[in-house]
């Protein structure tokens, strides 16, 4: 799909095929970090950043492995690269924004096992995007993740004040909410086709 337009890629990744609500990637942080809007925002930003870094690294690694004809090592290399990228981001944040580091602290290692990051690397490879398209795809996916996380956090902050039956407290209610959000996002399907 070398010819796909950039805005189409972006909208597709951010909204139509939203990583969380349509592709089910990154559900663990989506449920774990969506209780408060502030943490959700920070987490979302961290994910966008990590996505950009790992998208670029994955592009480079894939090129290298294709040249060397070692494609069967792709998965192992991707996960190693992503783990290192997350560590780099962690050190970076720790150095330049200790307060952000405190609020993100435990989530950053979680990003390593966040399937959204690995999924991004795998999808951009499967779709055979070039470098620019990969970057746009990564940004779109990250923005989509942030959007889903913020929407969910907004809903859950309101819901924390509501009286719900005790049986539905916790993850069950969050999942039902996520289902409703996902249903709403289905309405966006098709926009990529009409403009792309």
């Amino acid at each position: 799909m070398q010819t796909e337009a950039l805005h189409s890629i972006f909208l597709n990744a951010a909204i139509v095929n939203n990583f969380v609500l349509a592709l089910f990637l990154g559900i663990c942080p989506f449920l774990g970090v969506s209780a408060k809007k502030e943490t959700a925002w920070n987490m979302g930003l961290a994910v966008i950043f990590v996505m950009l870094v790992s998208s670029m690294s994955a592009y480079a690694i894939n090129w290298l492995l294709t040249e060397l004809d070692l494609l069967f090592l792709r998965l192992i290399c991707y996960i190693a690269i992503i783990a290192s990228a997350v560590q780099l981001v962690e050190m970076f944040v720790k150095r330049f924004s200790p307060s952000l580091f405190r609020s993100l602290g435990i989530f950053l290692p979680l990003i390593t096992t966040n399937c959204a990051i690995l999924g991004l690397a795998l999808f951009q490879t499967a779709k055979e995007y070039n470098f620019i398209q990969s970057l746009v795809y990564a940004t779109g996916a990250g923005v989509g993740f942030l959007l889903a996380l913020m929407l969910m956090a907004g809903l859950r902050e309101k819901l924390a004040l509501a009286r719900v039956p005790s049986v539905s407290q916790g993850a069950a209610l969050s999942l039902m909410l996520a289902g409703l959000l996902s249903l709403a996002f289905m309405g966006f399907a098709g926009i990529g086709g009409s403009i792309g």
Partner: protein, 236 residues
């Protein structure tokens, strides 16, 4: 690269229990050992499964080609690029097209791929083209994430699929493009043999299919028509 990086990540460890000092050669030894072991395992499995996967792929492609070219019983893969059609292994990169042959060795038709963005994501198709009648004689959805029950009608609604039994795809006198672009019309308003009778309820998916077919046909059919001679000779 993970060696120096991993040492920084001890998020859940309490600072009160300092780590026993591990010499770095031990860490390197472990990582190198594990990397070697995993490399060996992966290569062994890769060597073992590669021929089976290639065979699976061949069977799957063959089934798809025979489906869009009814009556074909064998097929050969060719590579199509802007210069023309060449055989696999000549080192040219381009689109893979599939020539299907009847049991007597004569050319039944050519299957060519097409793709367009549908309702959810990009849909990939395979179409069958018969040079003898200059028409499309079959279609198949190779990959799609369209809504079940609505968008997937483009692959299983018999009334819609009948469009592709003999869809007019003649070339203009110059042989550079289609004489009549293939278009989608609203359900029940088909008047010409190059029109596709749509499906109400899955307009966008059907539109994507028409767009994919028209684009691919405009691109490939002039070359296929021009270089038919390379395809009609059954290769040994």
């Amino acid at each position: 690269m993970s060696v120096d990086v991993e040492t920084h990540s001890q998020p859940q460890r309490e600072p009160s229990t300092p780590l026993p000092v591990t010499p770095s050669w031990a860490m390197l030894r472990t990582l190198a050992g594990i990397a070697t072991l995993s490399g060996l395992l992966v290569v062994m499995v890769y060597q073992f499964t590669q021929p089976i996967i290639a065979e699976n792929e061949r069977v799957l492609t063959e089934r798809a080609v025979f489906e869009v070219l009814p009556g074909a019983s064998s097929n050969v893969i060719f590579i199509l690029d802007e210069h023309g059609i060449s055989q696999v292994g000549e080192g040219r990169s381009g689109v893979r097209i599939f020539a299907g042959y009847r049991p007597d060795g004569s050319l039944r038709g050519i299957a060519f791929p097409a793709a367009a963005r549908g309702y959810q994501d990009v849909i990939q198709f395979l179409f069958g083209y018969d040079p003898a009648c200059a028409c499309i004689i079959g279609s198949k959805v190779l990959r799609s994430t369209e809504t079940p029950g609505l968008g997937d009608k483009i692959d299983n609604d018999p009334r819609f699929l009948a469009n592709f039994d003999a869809l007019d795809a003649r070339l203009d006198p110059d042989g550079r493009a289609l004489l009549n672009p293939i278009t989608l019309v609203a359900q029940g308003t088909k008047t010409d043999p190059w029109q596709i009778d749509g499906i109400s309820g899955s307009t966008i998916s059907a539109q994507a299919m028409a767009r994919a077919l028209n684009e691919a046909a405009q691109r490939f059919l002039p070359i296929i028509q021009r270089e038919q001679a390379t395809l009609t000779q059954p290769t040994p």
